[in-house]
């Protein structure tokens, strides 16, 4: 499907695997200590959800993976990663197609080439017919999907999704969770999913990592074994959700 899409030439910091490793990572912003000794391994094609209270350094973990900031202590090893920021960060003047192809433009592709590559994904993501629409004309759910296509087209083995559905209403959120699960089943990637919604984490991830309030460290890790697709009211899903909430409450 991506035969025409050339991966951008970016030297990944670890060429051996498409995984991510945090090794006793410390990070402070000025006097504020954000991360205190986070150790975490994410296997290739594994989906890991990072859950924790606001300000616990979840987004900082993603910035470390994407190389936007460096750790003060410890080590981060990660394959090349693409970031989907908290708000969609779509460019208001560009069409949905041009927004989706932004990563390719940055990688050196021409406008027509980037559009052609983005267009191939539009049908699969339910965006057909909205190629020329500006972001303002798209619904919240569609905007997130355009942002996701943009993230996919960066052609990186690791996806960093920062609260991708945080701004959506409950119903759209539910649909988008189902949709993301399907998309990742079709195109497996290593995913770091930041969320403060425990249920979302349990529905989507292979593993849920619970973080403490600031300074963030790993409090508990839950393996999510129920088979996909998962439903909110699956007994195993409910049980895991309760266990996660308990662990967070104890943190």
């Amino acid at each position: 499907m991506q035969s025409e899409v050339e991966a951008p030439v970016v030297a990944p910091r670890d060429t051996e695997a498409a995984g991510v490793e945090f090794d006793a990572v410390h990070k402070s912003y000025g006097a504020v200590e954000v991360l205190r000794g986070v150790t975490l391994r994410v296997a290739p094609d594994e989906i890991v959800a990072l859950v924790g209270p606001s300000g616990c350094g979840k987004s900082t973990l993603l910035e470390l993976v994407c190389g936007l900031t460096a750790p003060d202590g410890g080590r981060v090893r990660a394959a090349a990663a693409a970031l989907m920021p908290q708000r969609d960060a779509l460019l208001p003047w560009a069409s949905a197609l041009d927004n989706a192809g932004l990563a390719l433009r940055v990688a050196g592709a021409g406008r027509a080439e980037a559009r052609a590559a983005a267009r191939e994904h539009f049908a699969a993501f339910g965006l057909e017919g909205f190629e020329r629409a500006r972001p303002a004309a798209l619904s919240g759910g569609m905007r997130q999907r355009v942002a996701f296509v943009r993230t996919l087209l960066a052609g990186r083995p690791v996806l960093c999704l920062d609260e991708p559905f945080g701004a959506l209403d409950a119903l759209t959120r539910l649909q988008m969770q189902r949709w993301l699960a399907g998309a990742l089943a079709r195109e497996p990637r290593t995913v770091l999913l930041v969320t403060h919604d425990v249920e979302e984490a349990v529905l989507l991830a292979d593993r849920v990592v619970l973080l403490s309030p600031r300074p963030g460290r790993v409090v508990a890790t839950l393996e999510v074994t129920p088979p996909r697709p998962r439903a909110r009211d699956d007994r195993a899903v409910v049980a895991l959700r309760e266990r996660a909430l308990e662990a967070l409450g104890a943190a």
Binding site: P8, L83, P85, A89, L91, R105, V106, A107
Partner: protein
């Protein structure tokens, strides 16, 4: 509609004041006398209008080029920002009537000093607004580009420049409205044509009505320039929802 009504009321009051108040038309001609002078002296004033319009448009274009270059340079280089900002701001403290004769002295009586003085009046709002616009880019979009390893030039071209366009047009419209001031002062300092020159000679000949007619043309020129910029803005910046067209 309301603007038209207000204008008509103002003109009617003015007209009544002159005729009923017995004001000397040498001091204040009535609107009808101004229009009469405009019509009778049309052969005299039309070339002046074109001369000034030409100077203003060229000066505005020069200001856009210089202002854009300055704003981008200040945006890209902190050193240039520190070095240039006081100069850019200080340039607005320079009284145009004072330096206009000096500029004429150096550059002569041709087109160049007029274009330069118009540009001097215009480049400040263009530079500052564009500069602010470039800095106001959505931080998330900036982070996104950094995560994609975009070069500085790509960030500017793909994100910052388009994001700055609405602010840049605000600057351009302000510049368009004040541009004629630069042209008039430049012509007063030394010119053989132009509305500023016409204004000066009409005053000297006590042709007050013709002086007012020339002023009316300056007024219309500024409004037309502003309108052209607003129209261009609406065509270029077509993604922001607006409540008011921003036209004159």
């Amino acid at each position: 509609m309301t603007a038209l009504l207000a204008l008509l009321l103002l003109l009617a009051g003015w007209e009544a004041l002159v005729w009923l108040g017995g004001v000397d038309p040498l001091l204040l001609p009535a609107p009808t006398q101004v229009v009469e002078a405009l019509w009778e002296d049309r052969a005299l004033l039309a070339p002046d209008l074109w001369t000034t319009a030409y100077e203003v448009v060229l000066g505005l274009a020069a200001a856009v080029a210089a202002g854009a270059a300055l704003a981008v340079a200040m945006h890209l280089s902190p050193a240039l920002r520190r070095a240039l900002r006081p100069l850019v701001i200080g340039s607005q403290a320079v009284p145009v009537p004072v330096i206009a004769p000096l500029v004429i002295l150096v550059l002569g009586f041709g087109l160049a000093p007029k274009v330069l003085l118009v540009a001097l009046v215009c480049f400040f709002p263009i530079t500052i607004n564009l500069y602010d616009g470039l800095r106001a880019t959505d931080p998330d979009a900036r982070r996104l580009l950094r995560s994609l390893h975009a070069t500085r030039w790509q960030a500017l071209r793909l994100v910052e420049a388009p994001a700055a366009l609405p602010a840049a047009f605000t600057g351009l419209k302000v510049a368009a409205a004040v541009a004629v001031i630069g042209a008039v002062f430049a012509e007063w300092a030394g010119a053989e044509a132009g509305l500023g020159h016409a204004l000066l000679t009409a005053n000297g000949q006590l042709e007050t009505a013709r002086a007012f007619a020339a002023t009316l043309l300056l007024f219309l020129l500024a409004v037309a320039l502003y309108g052209a910029c607003a129209l261009l803005e609406r065509r270029v910046v077509d993604w922001t929802p607006r409540t008011d067209s921003g036209g004159p």
